[in-house]
């Protein structure tokens, strides 16, 4: 590197050192993060990960100088304002933490809506004034009600994937609707010869939860079906046995302490039912006691 400044050499060397000393190297995009927020995120990551911003060329040099096999594949994921993240934590967990630390941010003109942006119906903080016209002009159904501007219906104002128009961005901010998310956007992470891209790193926690419940239900079903006794299946089997026994006792009209009241009650209720139908034909068919 003949024409490379000394500080650049130092930086590449220090990046290389970080690459070699961590199991996981992530490539993130820091675009659109306001400085104070970035400071905060850095601090919260302090114990578990190190975030380094640098020039693309220097990061490339550092990656290429590493002995780690296949780590140069991270170069393909340098987007926006790239930064390297170094950690020893499971890359999936790293991704989860970074996603979880993202915060809502105001709309920016020209930004792409990550999902449908909806202005919900309901009261606004605005007193009647020119804002009403602005809302209506942006396509938001608004009117004046009891001295306040009220939005009459939910309105999807920007569809997912569409750019946010300038006037809409300003209205959304005034309505305190923050449709964008900012945070450290982990594009890919390298561990042990493999580069995991963000789509792979996305964990569907709800599915995991559903799978756990499914596994448990399946295990319980199988236990009960195959009569394998464990502390989960035995209560179910006991209930089944108790229900079937009670069914048999009641259907065979066998009186015991459990069935007695039920059978007496049944006889009485049946009598009332027959009496009701008889008295519907002729009031005098039943005695006064029942008619009341």
């Amino acid at each position: 590197m003949p024409h490379v400044a000394e500080w650049k050499k130092d930086e590449v060397a220090s990046l290389k050192k970080l690459i070699e000393s961590h199991e996981v190297v992530g490539m993130a995009n820091l675009s659109d993060i306001p400085a104070p927020q970035l400071q905060k995120m850095r601090r919260s990551l302090k114990d578990s990960a190190t975030l380094k911003m640098s020039r693309k060329t220097l990061m490339s040099l550092a990656l290429n100088s590493s002995d780690k096999e296949n780590i140069t594949a991270l170069e393909e994921h340098m987007d926006g304002q790239p930064a390297l993240i170094f950690t020893n934590m499971n890359p999936f967990k790293l991704y989860k933490i970074l996603e979880g630390s993202k915060t809502a941010a105001p709309a920016k003109a020209g930004s792409i809506a990550p999902e449908d942006i909806v202005v919900p119906k309901g009261d606004t903080a605005f007193k009647p004034g020119p804002i009403l016209g602005e809302l209506q002009k942006s396509g938001i159904p608004a009117k004046i009600e009891k001295g306040k501007i009220v939005i009459t219906n939910d309105k999807t104002i920007v569809a997912a994937g569409e750019p946010i128009p300038r006037d809409v961005a300003s209205i959304l901010t005034r309505l305190e609707i923050f449709p964008l998310e900012v945070g450290i956007d982990l594009r890919a992470a390298y561990e042990d010869q493999t580069v995991y891209t963000s789509d792979i790193l996305t964990i569907d926690e709800e599915k995991t939860l559903a799978d756990i419940q499914k596994a448990f239900t399946q295990g319980l079903n199988l236990s009960v079906e195959a009569m394998i006794f464990n502390k989960e299946s035995v209560p179910v089997l006991l209930q089944k046995a108790a229900t079937q026994s009670l069914n048999l006792a009641l259907n065979a009209e066998i009186l015991n302490s459990k069935t007695r009241d039920i059978l007496l009650a049944r006889a009485y209720a049946q009598m009332l039912s027959v009496a009701a139908e008889a008295s519907a034909k002729d009031e005098n068919a039943v005695d006064d006691e029942i008619r009341e």
Partner: protein
Amino acid sequence: MEYIYAAMLLHTTGQEINEENVKKVLEAAGSEVDEARVKALIAALEDVDIEDAIQKTAVAAPAAAAATTP
């Protein structure tokens, strides 16, 4: 209510629900029989499907049981 029980008893044992039978059952149960009521009951039950009425309440009885379960 004894008149109804007598009728249901006869229904269950498969006997005809007529004046004579109802009276016989009631007397066996130590009841003083009111002939007019027996006649009225028998006439009224002629158009009643007792089995049906009984089935309808199959629900009611255990209901009580459940209701009292702590």
